[in-house]
Amino acid sequence: MSKNEYCFLKTQSVLGVLVFVFFLLSLSLGPSNLTILDFWFLGETEKNNTSWLIFFEIRLPRAILGLAVGLSLGLAGAALQGYLRNPLAEPGIIGVSTSASLFTVIVFYSGLSAGFALLMPLAGILGATSAVLVLQSLAGRNASALTVVLAGVAISSFSGALISLALNFSSNPFATYEIVFWLLGSVADRGHDQVAIALPFMAVGWALLLCLGNPLDALTLGEEEATSLGYKLSRVRTQLIFGTALAVGSATSIAGTIGFVGLVVPHLLRPLVGNRPKLLLSTSALGGGALVLAADIAVRLLPFKQEIKLGVLTALIGAPFFLLLIIKQRRNVS
């Protein structure tokens, strides 16, 4: 076993343990002082009482969503950085997150979500898919990484502008309040039905992205040499875009905008896997899961009157990190 393979396995094991511990902690923390052990020892007759409801209906979907959203963001971040060969890339960059948010906001705004709750996640997935299709047509079949980024930035800006327009024209202050809070990003107060509809889409996205390991390794050499190694880049790009749309689109539709996870996690873990894009995929997925679970635990522990939103916390940590990365890149260039 090579040194890098050993480091990869060690990192995966440590992250696996962290995810497990944070998942259990997530199940154990909340306004009521019940821990995972209290639920473990509940008798059959007690399984309909409030304690069981807190555990099964409130904390379990929250923990599952935290893990799934983190996996999606970490994995998509690593895949995008590998494809674009740019450590500053993250899921939001191709416009998928903002477009998913836009479609979900439209459902909120129109009041359709009140009649049919599952329409929200479906709208998010539709938004993500639309972003992908627009991106494909804007960038063209044999677009370079730079064109994809520019097209993504355009979609993201336009979707953002439309969200602002919706908020601008909203006559109902409660709807505006609800939209703004949803946009801040959180995995709290979500139910099993939302998990059930989003998880299969996310799983398909994960599968598509995890299969990109070898082509992403080849892309380390540049697009021409990657093609000369037998990879059809248009297919790689399509798989990447749809994988990201399914994973991040469905995650965003349920949890709102949780930024910077896809940026921070791959950057921190890259040196531990010898900078290989293939090894970074699954490592980053686990890292994303661990980070979002940890952040979601932190928002519950922070001593504020009102629980701080998960997306706000990740942005507070991620934005300075992003600036540090830019400064580091500028130093490298100079």
């Binding site: 380390t220 190694l229 010898g274 290989r276």
Partner: protein, 262 residues
């Protein structure tokens, strides 16, 4: 034995013709040099042979039309190295060389690891195998890139200026390395600008001018002052000292100011 047959190969980029009706036959086990002034179509010809750009005409490798081969089958037969560039991520030399095995998807097999070790040894990289590629010197990186491409055990190797930017010692090292591989049966087609190295190391030369093939044949015959004047607008002398041929470009037929005037 004819390894590569190129018939009426043309490449167009929009309305401009980059390569025009190139016809060539190349044998196995030789170093073939592609030479010509900047913009004459050398790199485009290499890319067309590698199947990286759309073209008209036919390229056959051992009688098989390259266009009809799957991407993976092509990757197993043709090793392509573009003009020197640093990899996007700073991999270790070993991981970098291992990328050459990607078309075979056999990275974990013992046989693949043996091939990898052989490539690393042949390119004199054993002491550097754990070093990051970004920490290599220009000569070391050039060797690592060649190790990467020979790790795929291709039938034919296409190299675009593999010795550009290297000092004379490293240029000779790379050319000797290629000569050794050719003696084992590999065929190398490379773009180079150094007339003396071409005279010394290549078996055949193809001279290109403005997208057309000016002349092709054994190096000794092609490297004459008439052909070089036509291809590069230079005067030249072909000499042999201690059995080593070299070409001395002496003076441009037209100076830069003349060319601007005329």
């Amino acid at each position: 034995m004819i390894l590569l047959k190129i018939d009426e190969l043309s490449v167009k980029l929009g309305s401009s013709t980059i390569l025009n009706a190139i016809t060539l036959e190349l044998k196995q086990g030789q170093i073939i040099g592609l030479m010509g002034a900047n913009g004459s179509g050398k790199s485009t010809l290499l890319k067309a042979i590698a199947g990286l750009i759309p073209h008209s005409g036919e390229i056959c490798l051992r009688g098989q039309v390259i266009k009809k081969l799957s991407l993976r089958a092509r990757a197993k037969t043709i090793g392509y190295l573009g003009q020197s560039q640093l990899p996007s991520w700073s991999l270790s030399v070993r991981d970098f060389v291992a990328l050459g095995r990607l078309p075979f998807k056999d990275g974990d097999k013992i046989s693949a690891k043996k091939i990898l070790e052989k490539s690393i040894l042949e390119c004199d990289l054993a002491d550097l195998s754990d070093r990051l590629v970004t920490q290599l010197s220009g000569g070391e990186l050039a060797r690592a890139r060649i190790a990467r491409v020979i790790a795929g055990e291709p039938t034919i190797l296409l190299l675009d200026e593999p010795i550009a930017g290297l000092d004379p010692l490293h240029q000779l090292e790379i050319m000797h390395l290629l000569q050794n591989k050719v003696s084992e049966g590999l065929t190398v087609i490379l773009v180079l600008h150094d007339l003396s190295l071409a005279a010394r190391f290549t078996n055949r030369l193809v001279l290109l001018k403005e997208g057309r093939m000016l002349v092709a044949g054994p190096t000794g015959l092609v490297l004459n002052s008439e052909n070089l004047a036509e291809a590069f607008k230079i005067n030249s002398q072909y000499c042999v000292t201690d059995g080593i041929p070299y070409v001395l470009p002496t003076y441009p037929i037209k100076t830069l100011s003349d060319r601007h005037k005329g």
